[in-house]
Symmetry: C2
C-alpha cells in the first residue's frame, strides 16, 4: 500500500487507528482455549469487531514466537486472514529487527514477501546496511525506531551529538533520510513523548509516524495529534492492550469494538477539525 492509498484509507474510515495484536495466549479469554487455534480465533474475532474503525493491524512477533511452531502458525493464519481486507488495512510486523546486510535481507524476505506485511519495524543501531535491505522491496515500508515509548528510551536516544548538538533520535531521523524517503519509510515515535513531536516534525514533515503508547502506556491522543498531524494525516496511532484485553470475558470482542470506536470517533473529530476529511 502506498502513501496516497494509506491517506485515502484514513479519510474513508475517518480513523488513523492501528490495533496492536499483542495476542498473549495467557491473556486471551479462557473460553477460546478449547478451540483449535485460540490465538488465531482471538485475532480473527478482534479483527472482525474492529475493522470498521481501524486502518492498520500490528502483530507483535514476540507473542507468536514464544509459542514456537504453533505461534508461527497462528501468525501465518492471521496475516492470511488480514489479506482478505487488502485495501482496507495496512499491516505491520512489529519485529524490531536489524542485522548485517545478508541477514536483514532474510528478514525482509520473510516479513515483506513471504508473509506479505506492508511494513516492518526495524531497529537503527546497526545503521544503513541493516536497514536498506528492507527498503529494496517495492511498495513496502520500513518503520524505523526513532524515539520509543518506554522508560529506557532515555538511556541512549536522547544522547546529544558532540559534533552538532543533535540527539541520537534526531540523528536517526536525519541520517535515515539518505536511505529512504516518505514513500517507503515511517518512524516509531512514542506517544509518551508527544511534546517532542514538534521537534520531530521539523526533521520529517512528510513522513508517517507510528505512535505507540496511547492507552495502557499513558500517552494522549490529543497531544499526539496537536504536534504530529501533517497534510496527509501522517499518523498511525497504535493501541494494543487498551483494546484487545479490555475485557477478559466472552464479551471481549464487543468491548474491543467499543474501545476502537471511541478512539475512531475522537480521531474523526481531529481529522474534521484539521480539514483533513
Amino acid at each position: 500500500m502506498n502513501r496516497q492509498s494509506l491517506f485515502e484509507l484514513i479519510k474513508r474510515k475517518k480513523s488513523f487507528l492501528c490495533v496492536g495484536l499483542d495476542s498473549d495466549i495467557n491473556k486471551i479469554p479462557k473460553h477460546l482455549l478449547t478451540t483449535d487455534d485460540p490465538v488465531f480465533e482471538f485475532n480473527k474475532t478482534i479483527i472482525d469487531a474492529t475493522l470498521d474503525f481501524t486502518v492498520a493491524y500490528k502483530p507483535n512477533l514476540a507473542f507468536y514466537e514464544s509459542r514456537g511452531t504453533e505461534g508461527i502458525r497462528s501468525l501465518e493464519k492471521t496475516i492470511a486472514y488480514l489479506s482478505n481486507f487488502n485495501d482496507q488495512v495496512f499491516t505491520i510486523a512489529d519485529a524490531k529487527r536489524g542485522d548485517i546486510g545478508n541477514t536483514s535481507a532474510q528478514y525482509a524476505k520473510t516479513f515483506l514477501e513471504c508473509y506479505g506485511f506492508d511494513g516492518i519495524t526495524v531497529a537503527p543501531y546497526m545503521g544503513e546496511d541493516s536497514v536498506s535491505p528492507f527498503l529494496s522491496v517495492e511498495n513496502k515500508w520500513v518503520i524505523l525506531l526513532a524515539l520509543t515509548s518506554n522508560k529506557g528510551a532515555f538511556d541512549f536516544q536522547l544522547m546529544e551529538n558532540k559534533a552538532n548538538g543533535k540527539r541520537l533520535f534526531e540523528e536517526v531521523l536525519e541520517t535515515s533520510q539518505k536511505w529512504g524517503n516518505a514513500d517507503n519509510m515511517m518512524y516509531v515515535v512514542g506517544a509518551t513523548k508527544a511534546e517532542m513531536l514538534a521537534d520531530i516534525r521539523k526533521i520529517v514533515p512528510e513522513h508517517f509516524l507510528l505512535v505507540p503508547g496511547v492507552g495502557a502506556q499513558g500517552g494522549s491522543l490529543q497531544e499526539v495529534a496537536k504536534y504530529g498531524l501533517n497534510s496527509q494525516c501522517g499518523l498511525l496511532v497504535n493501541s494494543s492492550r487498551g483494546i484487545i484485553f479490555k475485557s477478559p470475558e466472552k464479551d471481549f470482542a464487543e468491548i474491543a469494538k467499543q474501545e476502537a470506536q471511541k478512539l475512531q470517533e475522537e480521531m474523526a473529530e481531529i481529522l474534521i477539525t484539521n480539514n483533513l476529511v
Copy 2:
C-alpha cells in the same frame, strides 16, 4: 552455563570458536534437499563435524524464521540436538531482539527458557527495560550489541556524547553495567574493528566478548586476540560462512571440520602463548 564453566570449556577444548549456524536453505549442499528436514540435517552434520573444535554454536534466527513453521521446526530440532552436548557447548540465539518490557519478557521466555539457549543477542537502542527482562533468567546471558562488524556501525555507534565525549558504543558498555555484570552479560564487538578492542577492554575488562566478522567479513583472529584477551580468555570468536559454506558439495562436513580445526589450532597457540592453558 556460568562464566567459570565457560572458561573451563575453553581450556578443555583449547578453543574459543563459535560456529554460526546461518543455515540458509539456498546455500546448503543440494543433496540434502531430498531429506525430511534439510536444514536440521545440515546443522546436525556440521555440529558432529566441528564439535571437538568449537565451544559455542550460534544459529541466526533470520535463516530459520524465513521458512515459517518449517524453519522454526528446524531450529527446535537443532537446539534439542545441541542439548545432548550440554556441558560441551554454549548456545547463542542470534536474534538481536529488544522491545518494551512486557515484550522483551516474552522473547526472554521464548529463547532462554523454552528453547533453552544459554544466551541471546540483544539490541540496546530501547534501553534498560528492553534488556533487563533477559537478565532476570538465572544462569543465562544477554549478549548486547556494542560495536558491530558491519559498515553501518559507523552511522550511529561512533557518535560522541556532547556531555562527556564518549562514543555511543562506549555509553552502551558503561550504562549497561548498571543492569548486569560479567556473569550475565557479554558484548558483541566486531572483529573488523579489532583495534578498538583496546578501548573496550578499558571499560569492560572482565566481560566476555562475542566477536563476529572473522573470516568472510575480513577480521583477523590475531588482532582480536592481541587486544581482546583477558585472564579468562574473555572471547568467543564467531565464524559462520567461512566454516559452514566453505564447500557446497558432499564433502561440506569434512571441509567445515578442517576450517574449524584450523581456527582451533590458531586459538590453541594463542591460549598457550598467553598462559591461559
